[in-house]
Amino acid sequence: MIAPAGVQALQVLTVLCGAPLVSGVTSHIEARLQGRRGPRVLQPYYDLAKLFRKETVVPEGSSWVFLAGPVVAFGCYLIVPLLIPVLTTYGLPLGYMGDILGGGMVLALGGFAAALAASDSGAPYAQLGASRAMTFGALTEPTVLFVVFIVAMITSTDLPYALAATVRSTSEAVRPSHVLVAAAFFLVVLADTGRIPVETHSGTLELGMIDEARTLEHSGAPFALTKWGSAIKQLVLYTIFINVFVAPWGLASSGKVVDVVAAVLSLLGKALLLGVVFAVIDNSFSKLRLFKITEYLAAAFLLACLGVIVFYVGGA
């Protein structure tokens, strides 16, 4: 048996250590789909190790905010796995510390810290990226709020554990509002992780950059933290999508070692599967023009909005 506190620590550790693997596998598969050999699956770990050994260069005139930003963002992204069902079906001691809105706020705080650091660098591209990220972030907020509303209406609470339990218990009948909400959240994840309809995450095309541009000025250990942080954010969003909305199966229902290990493996497996889906999407669509992104986000909002209405009208 593992104590609840131990499982909780393991949730954070799983996300911390698994995130680069998920990014690595995804980019490897993406390269394969494009007919390239692609980087090794473990490449993100080597990158991080290399960056941590490099020296840190700070732009002239920037303050401590520039160096604190990545650390704060990294910390924020690590708090979220405490709040969501990463490994267990039952709530862990700190799991009731915050609801979905709390988790969203912590994620947004991380984004805010990264944007502050980018602005403090004084470099034009970093500032452009930060301002764009904030602008489009403000447009995804309404969608996220409506998603939370539906979760609250279906479960009468806004705890992620409760929704996951509801999804598990009603496997034979799909609620239409739930389908819509899952679709809306999928689009939000796609936008928030900087995937293709919104941003080319691996390119260096300055004009279309959003998240990538924010980190341009960072180097050395802070840069490693930003890279690692964005991988963690990606895995956290995947986990919310999988374990709360779509497939909350394979989680540990007790603290037995076998159960917990199985839960870790199943989470990583499901995340990798989702990563493959994202890689396929990456290869089958082209990037939207910057001013078309609002339409994409309007579509996500439409789905969430219809979900709320359908639930309210049909009670389903």
Binding site: A173, R175, V179, T294, F301, L302, L303, C305, V310, V313
Partner: protein, 222 residues
């Protein structure tokens, strides 16, 4: 926590929602051709819903309706429209004038919300289809009207008109599934007439204005 809907009811709801989402996609479709294809897809969803409802609720005449609509709405009408577009060779029409970006979608959301709540206050309950399906179908009709009103090209107006019929056929299935087949078939015949009329209008407008956009209609002619 509300009661969990049964498999059939939630399937019908999802199908109706799919119809509604296709309607929204038509609203935003940049190309006229893709609009017609979306219409074919929407009709296909309606046909499947009709056939499944016929099977679940034991209304064998719905099969006839489904077969006829499959032939007419999924195959013949889209094929005729696509052929017409190819003949007129309009290519990609520029994006419609009225209401750019997301505002058209926002208007449509507002209208469909109105439809949902208006129907809810009427207190209809269908024995055939779940209530949510009925209100989604009403929203489909209203959004189709938005499509007709806001997009300024003849094809959108024709497609909008046809998809009004899709919404109406779901509503009629919900309210009166036992409707005599003759009446249903006469609806479909109506649609066929509409295709002919819209085809004529499209040809005439294109011959006179050289475009399918209705923006050319507000110019005064001496």
């Amino acid at each position: 926590m509300g009661p969990v809907p049964s498999g059939y009811a939630s399937g019908a709801d999802v199908a109706a929602l799919l119809v509604l989402l296709t309607e929204f996609a038509m609203l935003r479709a940049p190309q006229l051709r893709s609009q017609v294809r979306l219409y074919a897809f929407q009709s296909l969803v309606v046909v499947v819903l009709t056939a499944v409802t016929g099977a679940v609720r034991c209304h064998p005449d719905l099969y006839i309706l489904a077969a006829l609509s499959l032939l007419l709405k999924v195959v013949i009408v889209p094929a005729l429209m696509l052929r017409l577009l190819r003949e007129l060779d309009v290519g990609q029409l520029h994006h419609p004038a009225g209401g750019g970006g997301g505002s058209m979608v926002l208007v449509a959301i507002a209208v469909s919300v109105f439809g949902f709540f208006a129907l809810r206050s009427l207190g209809f309950h269908s024995k055939i289809l779940p209530t949510a399906t009925l209100s989604v179908a009403v929203a489909v009709v209203l959004v189709a009207f938005v499509l007709v009103v806001l997009r300024s090209d003849v094809v959108s107006q024709a497609v909008g008109f046809f998809s009004v019929e899709n919404g109406v056929s779901i509503v009629s299935m919900a309210i009166a599934a036992g409707l005599p087949v003759v009446v249903e078939v006469s609806f479909l015949f109506d649609l066929l007439v509409a295709v002919v009329v819209f085809g004529l209008i499209m040809r005439a407008h294109h011959a006179r204005a050289g475009t399918l956009s209705t923006g050319a209609l507000d110019r005064l002619r001496g």
